[in-house]
Every structure is written in C-alpha cells, then in structure tokens.
Symmetry: C2
Subunit: 655 residues, 2 copies
C-alpha cells in the first residue's frame, strides 16, 4: 500500500487508541487490527455521504463486533460525519455521543446499535432483505433508485452466537447477494486463543449455507481485501463472507493475544505501539495533515455519489410519480392519510380468536399500508400472519411474505434490521412462549426506538394441550418490564384492531399477545373500544364496590363475574388494560379515574402476578407452570372461573 494509505490507516488506529486510553477503558485490539478494512470501506469502496447520513440509497455499514466502537467513531470522524475530536475525547462519558458500544440515534453515521454479539450480523441480513425487497418493488429499468450494499464487520464471537447461524442460513436461502461480511479472523477471543472453544471450519460452514466464502491472508493487504470485495460484488446471487486474517492489537507489545482485547493498554504500551508503527509518541488525537487531506476526499466523493442519485431520483419522480410518493412515505415512515378507515370493526355476533382478528386486520389494511412486510417463524398456519394476496419474498422479492423458518431470534433481529434500514414497517411472528428466544432482539430494538412489530399468538395456558413448554405464563410480565417496548394484550377482536392501529401509529417497537381460542367480541361503539385502547386501560362496565382489572381473555371472565356479583348485590367495575405502557403514559388524573384509590381492586390475568400489585390489592394469576389438557380445563383448574373470582372479591371487600 502507499505511504498515504498507511498514514491514513494509522490515523484511525491512533485516534482509536487515544480514545480508549483517555477513557481508561474500552477495546483497543480490534481497532488496531481492523483499521485497514475500515479505511478501505469508508474511504474508497462504500457509497455514502457524510453530510447526509440518512440518504436512502447509501451503503450500510454494521459493526457487529460493537465493542470495537472506537474504530467506528474514529472512522466516522475522519470521514466527516458529525463526530468531533472532542467527542472522541468524551468516549464512554455521561451524555457523550460516543458511548461504550455504538448506539443507534446517539451518533451521526451509526447505522444500528451493536454490542450483544451476533445481532449486528443478523440485523445486517435484515437490511439486505429490505434492500432487495424495496429494489424489486420500486426500481425501474435505468432508474434503479434502490441499489446499495450492506457491509458487516464481525468477529469470532458473532459467528459463535446461534443467531448468526439462523440469519446466515436464511440469508443463503434467500440469496442476499448484496450482503458482504468481513470476518475479523484474528484467532483470539476474550478467554484466549479461539481454539479453546471454537475450531469450526468457517469456510465450510458458510459454504454449506450457500454463501460465497473468500479468504484474505493478511489484514494489512489492502489490494487483497479490495479484490475480495470486488469478487463479493460480482457474485450477485449469494451473500459473501470474507475471512480476513488480522492480528488483534496490531503493532502493540501484546499484539496477537487476548490481553489487548478489552482494556486500555496504558501509557507505556500505547507509546510503544506508536513507536512500533512510526507514530509520534508525544502526540494524542493527532491526524497528520496529509492524512486529513486524504480523508477529506471521502466527503467529496460522497457528495458526488449523492448528486448522481438525486438526479436519478428526480427522473424517477417524473416518470413514476405514484411509486415515488409511496417511496417517500416509506422513507419518512409515514402511511398515506385515511388508511385507518380500512381497519375493520368486528360485530358481536360470534366469538373470534384474536389471532384470527389480527389476520383480518392485517389483510384489510394491507393495500393501504404497503410498507407492512414480514412473516412467521415456521408457524404461519398458526399465527395467521400472512398476506393472502402476496407471494413469498423468497420466490418473488417484491412479495411481502417472509418464511423465516424455525428461527425466532434470527427473525426478530432481521426484522430490527429492516426497521433501521427504513422504508418498511416490518413484523415477525411466532408463538408467544417463544418470545423467550426473541427477547434479546426485542430489548435491542426497544433501545433503538425503531418500529419493529412482534405478533405473538397462543397467549396463555388457554392454548391447552401442547402443555407447559408451549404455555406462556411469565412472558407478558417479563416483556412489560422492557423499557420502551409497547405491550398489547387485547381482550377481543376490536381491541386487537385498535392495537394494530396504535402499533402502526406509535412508530416505536411493540408486541401483541393474541389468543388461540375464540373470545366474545366487545361492542366497539358501546364500549368505545378504540378510544379506550388508545389510553392503555379503560372502564368497560362501571361499578362501585370493587374494580376488576384485567387483560386479554380474562376480560371476558371479569365481565361475566361482574354479572354474577351483581346478582349477589355487589357492584363491580370492569377495567380492561390492554397496554400497560400506554396506560402509564396517561395523566395521574386519568389513571386514578380508571382505578380509584379508595376502591378495592382485583386483577385477573392468566399470567404471572408480579406486576399487578401496582394496580390491584389482590391478583388472580399464575405463578406456576401450566399443564397439558384442553384449554378450558386448564383455565378452570388454575382458578379462572366465575366462582373463584366471586370468592376472591368477597374476601377482598371484607378486608
């Protein structure tokens, strides 16, 4: 490589090293080893515009090994994103834009939150799905307004994680030709040499997934890395993994060992590293003028690429005004006005399982919400989350149905990748109990505050015979504890419709827990269901002696119990609380108007009692696992019957 290249690469290395050193913590090893890759991508190969980090058709870069954040921040700074030297100097400090791991929304140019290993990799696969779908949907001959790559830098840890298997296997099946993964194959993990626990043949593994796998023997060989990336782009039907043999902590005294992975190396080793690589030992956060000049070409190059795309886009708008409008709405994460009118209202005549109600809503709004896109983890027939009029994305990339396979975590991480990519409102679906596998992705998207939807069905022991491994008990409560994740546990078909509407409007991540079994339908007008759900909790029937507060299928039990109580001279208010997060957003006045302080309150929900004590004095819930038997029997045996509610109320109001 040229001297200028070397200087520009070392500028990354020492910015990152000084960044970690000043914070006295962080990860210096990967930045030193991977700086050439980052240089090549950001300086030469990637299509990006540092002055508009949200440009729709930019190449995406995902740092899946998020602990190498100092590398990313340094490269963003050098490329001209809004990351200043003072930000690098504030690395890992309160309210800085340079947190310990990259956080979506905190930092200009950071595409996605990473740190929990494997998820960046899987989210990148989701981004590549989004690109492929949007390209198939919007591109016209000579007017390819969607045409970008998703690059990933990842480490051993990413590939050890199960989610990498799920995403890689599906990415191979889906032929995501514009997904390019650079694997930092440095032979070291936190505990020591990778062969302590990780000896698999990565090439063989990824070829088995139908990926193209390339190898670069020397992570400092820019030409070889570039040639591999060119070959990756040339293979349009398969994703590519490029295994780059790097040296962790390159240039430092402890290079090639786990000692240089996860802590600041201290002033002595820092100085030695600078000395070893011919860098001035006495300069900190130093960018030589020539390197700075060289890095400045990124912004120019980006601007030019952006202008070319803008010219294309102007032509596109003229020749395809409707599609262009749809594209713009999608990019702004908006839905064309009036779509709400397509949300169905369910009649009270016959009971409807809320999973079926969900299916009806989804299909009713499908035409008006064209950005809605997703599928299930091999449970389409059970969760009912399929667009009836659209093909499988796998067969036709313009199709809106994704068959994710039995890959719950991978599905949700990919859905998150689609959400941060932009242009889509993505969803994933499975049995509610398997939300357990989804949680790490649900937490990550809650942290990112982007709009992933998770449609879960078979919401309680009410599913019956499949038994305790399949019966959710603690899931509702556990997910309600995740900050920023909106919960929906609708009581009936109309609450489900309202939940769908809110889920689309709120622009934040949310999940729904829907029933397998039929549930009576609440009168949408009489009970003002849509308005009620929009407040999270609301009064269905009024009463003065006791409040029965409930959610999901148990709202019906509460209604029936209120009738039975009335016959015994007890006046019960029935409150449905389909969304705790939304209820908590209401004013103190509203909340206490629904749940008056002075009235005894009994909560009823077929799930863990844990959180209900905030709202109720007594709880009928489930603090054990379920059992295999027909749903109504399990419900009855575990206390979800009118007699038990009545008995609890009598005891409660005696207090």
């Amino acid at each position: 490589m040229s001297e200028l290249d070397q200087l520009s690469i070392n500028a990354i290395r020492f910015l990152a090293l000084d960044t970690v050193e000043k914070a006295k913590c962080g990860h210096p090893g990967a930045p030193l080893g991977c700086a050439p890759i980052a240089y090549l991508l950001f300086h030469k190969l990637m299509k990006h515009n540092p002055s508009d980090s949200k440009w729709a058709d930019r190449d995406r870069f995902v740092l899946s090994n998020g602990h190498a954040s100092a590398l990313l921040y340094s490269v963003l700074h050098l490329s001209g994103y809004k990351v200043g030297i003072e930000d690098l100097q504030n690395f890992r400090q309160w309210h800085s834009i340079t947190p310990g791991h990259p956080e979506y929304g905190d930092t200009d140019g950071v595409e996605v939150t990473t740190g929990p290993l494997g998820q960046g990799f899987a989210m990148a696969a989701g981004m590549a799905v989004a690109e492929k779908h949007l390209a198939a949907k919007f591109n016209k001959p000579e007017l390819e307004i969607v045409d970008h790559y998703t690059y990933v830098l990842c480490g051993d840890g990413d590939l050890m994680e199960g989610v990498s298997h799920e995403a890689a296997s599906l990415a191979g099946t889906l032929g995501l030709g514009k997904l390019i993964v650079l694997y930092d194959d440095n032979l070291i993990s936190l505990d020591g040499p990778t062969d302590l626990s990780y000896t698999e043949d990565v090439k063989g593994r990824f070829e088995a997934y139908h990926w193209q796998v390339l190898r670069v023997e020397d992570g400092n060989d820019l030409a070889a890395i570039e040639a591999a990336i060119v070959a990756a782009k040339a293979e349009t039907t398969k994703p590519t993994l490029i295994a780059v043999r790097t040296v962790i902590g390159y240039g430092s005294p402890k290079a090639g060992t786990n000692k240089v992975h996860g802590e600041a190396m201290g002033p002595v080793d820092t100085a030695k590293t600078k000395e070893n690589l011919g860098w001035p030992v006495d300069k900190f956060f130093y960018v030589p003028e020539e390197a700075a000049k060289n890095w400045a070409t990124v912004a120019e190059r980006g601007k030019k690429q952006y202008q070319e795309w803008t010219a294309l886009w102007e032509k596109y708008k003229k020749s395809n005004p409707e599609l262009a409008a749809e594209f713009e709405l999608g990019q702004a994460n908006k839905i064309a006005a009036g779509w709400e009118a397509s949300v169905p209202v369910f009649l009270t005549e016959k009971p409807v399982a809320t999973r079926n109600a969900g299916q009806q809503v989804m299909n009713a709004i499908a035409g008006k919400v064209p950005s809605l896109f997703g599928g299930a983890a091999d449970l389409t027939a059970s969760t009912k989350t399929i667009f009836k009029d659209s093909p499988s994305f796998h067969i036709d990339p313009a199709g809106r149905n994704v068959f994710f396979g039995v890959r719950e975590f991978g599905m949700c991480a990919m859905v998150n990748g689609m959400a941060v990519h932009g242009g889509l409102i993505p969803f994933g679906s499975t049995f509610f109990v398997f939300s357990e596998c989804c949680r790490p992705a649900m937490r990550l998207v809650a942290l990112m505050k982007v709009q992933s939807l998770f449609i879960f069905t078979h919401d309680s022991i009410g599913l019956g015979e499949d038994g305790p491994t399949h019966q959710p008990v603690e899931q509702l409560m556990s997910l309600r504890a995740i900050p920023g994740l909106t919960d929906f546990h609708p009581a009936d078909a109309n609450e489900t419709a309202a939940a769908w509407k809110l889920a689309l409007e709120r622009k934040t991540p949310s999940f729904m827990a829907l029933s397998r079994q039929d549930l009576p339908v609440l009168d949408a007008v009489k009970y003002k269901v849509a308005e009620g759900v929009a407040k999270g909790g609301y009064v269905l029937e009024d009463g003065t002696d006791v409040v029965l507060v409930s959610a999901g299928s148990e709202v019906d039990l509460a209604m029936k119990s209120a009738v039975a109580l009335k016959a015994e001279g007890i006046s019960a208010r029935v409150v449905s609380m389909p969304s705790w997060k939304i209820f908590e957003e209401q004013s103190a006045e509203y909340k206490s108007s629904v749940l008056p302080k002075s009235t005894p309150k009994l909560a009823i929900e077929a799930g863990a009692t844990q959180g209900w004590w905030k709202y109720a004095d007594e709880v009928i819930g489930i603090d054990r696992f379920g059992a295999s038997a027909p749903g109504p029997i399990v419900m009855d045996k575990l206390g979800f019957n009118v007699a038990n509610v009545v008995a609890h109320v009598k005891k409660l109001i005696k207090k």
Copy 2:
C-alpha cells in the same frame, strides 16, 4: 426387514396414531415416519433397563423434536416402562403422565423435557459432556462404570434453531464421540416444504463442525440405519449426525406433506393409514401378540445389561471405595457432610465485588464439592468462574473448567443436560444482561426442577462504561417471574457466600446476579447474614418510621440512607431481600414481621420497579435503559444516592 420387525414397528405407529386420534390433537407425522428408528434403538441397540429408568450407566435418548411425544410414549409402553395403554389413552389430558410434549419427571423413561426446538439437541450435548467427564474421572482399567451413549432424534426445526449451532460447534470442538444424532430429514416443516426457508447443506455444515456425517437414504431400511449407528460408535473422537431420509406421515393419505405434521388426521385417514400398512382397521390401541412378545425381549435384554453393570460396579466398589462413595453421592445429588464448613466468611475490612466473592467461594468449596463443574461463555476473566486448580475439560476431560465460547444459550442448555444426566452440579456463567439469551433454557430447567446454576455478573448499571447494551435493567424482575427458579441478588460478599450455600442445598435451579464493582462487606455475625439469606429477606438495621427494602448493591445505599435519615430524626429499618423466591416461601407471620403492613415502605434497587409494588409503597428503581459512563456517575444520575432516598422517604412518610 423381517415380518416381525415390521409388525413391531407398526405397533409403534398405530399406538401413536390412536393416541393422537383419541386426544383429537397432537402430531402423527413424525411417529409414522420415525418408528423404525425408535424400534431399532429401544429394541436392539440401546443399553437400557425399563425396570430401572434411572440406572446411572444407561444410554440416554433425547427426543429433541418433542412434538413427536406419541412416538416416545408408545415406545416406552412397548419397551416395558411404566406407561400403560390407559396412559396413552389419556394423552394430553389433565394430570395424565402423557402430556403434549415430554415432561421430565412426569413419565417413567422420559429423560428430559423437550418441545422448544433445538434445546433437546443442546441438552444431549451436555449429557455427552457429563458422560465424558464422569468417565474420565471415575473409570479404571477394566472397570469402566461410566460408558454410555447419548442418542438424539431431531428434526429440521431443531437444526434451524441457533442453539443447535452453538451446541454442535462446541460438541465438535470437544470431540464428543458418544453423541449420536439421528436427523429426521423429511423435507417438511410446519409451513410446507423445507425449501421455503431451509436449504442449507446439513452434511457440509456438520462436517465443518468436525462431526462425522452419515446418510441413510430410506428411513425404513433398518439394516442401513443400524450400519450407520455402528459406524457412529466406531468413530470415537467425533460426534455423529446420521441424516435419515424419512417420509412424514408414512403410510397415511397425506404422507410427505405438512398436512400430516401437527393435527389428528381424523377417523377416515386413520383407517386408510391402517389399511395401507395392513393393520386391522377396527382395532385401536392394538398390539399383536407376536409384536408384544418381541417387544418383551427388551426388558430381558435390559435386565441382563444391568446385571453385568452391577457386577462391574461391585468390583469397582471393592477396589475403589473412595471413588465409589463419591460416585454414589454424585448420582444421589448429595454432597459429603461437612462441606459447608469450607464456605468462607468475609471480613468487613475492605470492600469486595460480589463476583470476586463468588470466585473465592467456588474455589474454597471446590475440593469438598467435587461434582461442581462448569464454566463461562468466553467471559471467564470477567465472571471469575474458574477453578484455579483444574485443567480445561477440552484438554483433559477430567478437568472441571469448560470454556463454552460466546454461546450463552447453548451453554445453559448444555448445563441443563448435565443436570438431568446426573452425577454433576453444573453451572454456566456470563454477563447478567446476556441472561436474555439464556432464558429459554432457564425456563426449561425451572420446568424440570433440576439443579442447574447460573452465575451472572455485572448485575446492574453499576458496571458503567459498556453502556445500555451491557447494563441489566429489567433482567432481575423478568427472571424473578419464572416459576420455580430461585433468584439471588446478594448485597455483599457474605450474602454471596450464603447464596452459594443455598444454591447447592436447594437442588433446584437458581441464578445469582453479582456485582462488577466492589461493595462494602456486611458483618456476618452481627447481621446473621447466613440465616437471613436463608429466609430470602431479613432485617439488617431496625427502625420504626419507614422500611427501606432493597437488594444487591443498593443495600449499602439503604444503610447509608438510614444513617442520614437518623440525623434528621427519622428512624428507618433496613431490609435486605436477596431472594424473592425464598422470601415467598416463608410464613405469612415472618414476612409481615420483616415488612410490617402499617409502616411505609420504600424499595430501592437498580432495576425495573415492576414487582416491588407487592412489598413497597414507593420504589426507587430504573424503568429506562442505562447509559455509558463510569458506574458511580450512572448510579448517581439515575437517582441512586442518599439525597434522593432521603427525599423519597420524606415524601412517603408525609403521605
């Protein structure tokens, strides 16, 4: 195959089919396709004794595709386990021993709970680790008292799940030569043909993991399946995967389609299936006499194998009395009396991070609790869960340290497999926030009620700079919601020691959340820490105006706040509540003696507030994500300081 073989195989098929049919739900497809495999294993190849299903040296059989439970129950019945025809007829009914998915503890001969796909596979890898370790530790020349195989039957779904990747990759690295997986390669998943979402080259993938991979082209070819299993046994340094091409729903009108996967086929198709395979259409739960006689040989064979082993064991006991005593204790899941004396007591002189306290306890008791075995998910240096005097299991199978790699879920599932295997008290360890990945396994072991230990460190935002992706917030509360899982959030080193003692004594699964940062040590004698922790919650300092109830690092804050409050004339009681589950087990009297109804109560814990409302009137907690900054700063900014506690108390007691 012989006619007798065919008859005996069809006996499985039609018992299973009638079982599903009578319940009117379940999964007929896999039993019809896999009956020959099950026959070969249980009737001929496996070492097992139906009259002692807990025999230590039996071969293990794991039905990873647990939805095929009717297959397993039918084979257990035919083999002579305590599963009667009436039990098959009670399939999926309340309190039957034949639940929808196999449940450990419910049914004689069921080795492990399965249903959530992939986990059976991973637990089997754990069983094979246990076997290999115990064999290395106990066997003597000519006295190989531990020498058994672990067989797995799994489907596509198991192999799509990420946990199969984690476990398979590690199993290959560890060279688990006695792990034999039969893969029901039927080309069908719930949503339809597997190529909808699953096209990977399974052979290539597993060879990349360093497995032996064999293929059987016809799932009805007993000789070919047997030859493959013989070859699997002959390869002693690698696990083996045998891909058996079967036909889902073999013999039925909808054979080879997803229509026969997951629901009862109805009387018409059932009759047609019987007709197709030459079975009397008018007989139900029918076992022809010859088939019954043939199946009866299993019990005889088993008894003989058992007697041979018993003879060996008697010799072993004589020549190796000490090891034999240790083996027996391990099998009974007991620890030699007096071990508790080795649990250290920490002095108050200097603060200790509870992760370091945990390390000291582990190593102090290591000699007295030889069955303790485990490791971390590539975070040994951080979680400190390493036996200093023992080699890596990978290098020396008698070693007690397992390096699991970055595979949290796989680690925990493997730990569960070790726990159900018997002979070990296994543990796994990682950062607390990554318990999110462990949850599906933690739920499953809670359901099984066996003793897996999960040692989590970096328990709160107190970990500091790594930021929100690494800072637990909602994890404590979410895990406390899992039924049957004991929680420990110790306040200091002495509570940590007490928690370790209880975790070993309780014989049920538990987790610990330990701190990264140093915490002051409570006086073990003055505060009767061990007795207190054994009750889940206890009074540290008494007071009358307000109760400060807390756990983990915030107990120290509560203590300091009580001092500050005293200076202002407010008498505060301080309660430490290291284990909610154990506290809930105490009498109502004890609980209200600790948390008196009439005294205002303030809870303080650096985590989600959700569950605290059961115990307190007000909560200082965290219902948002953390932030990247030094730990003490994050703590202070989010309200964990004396001034904020005092302010809250003043407001509270004014109420």
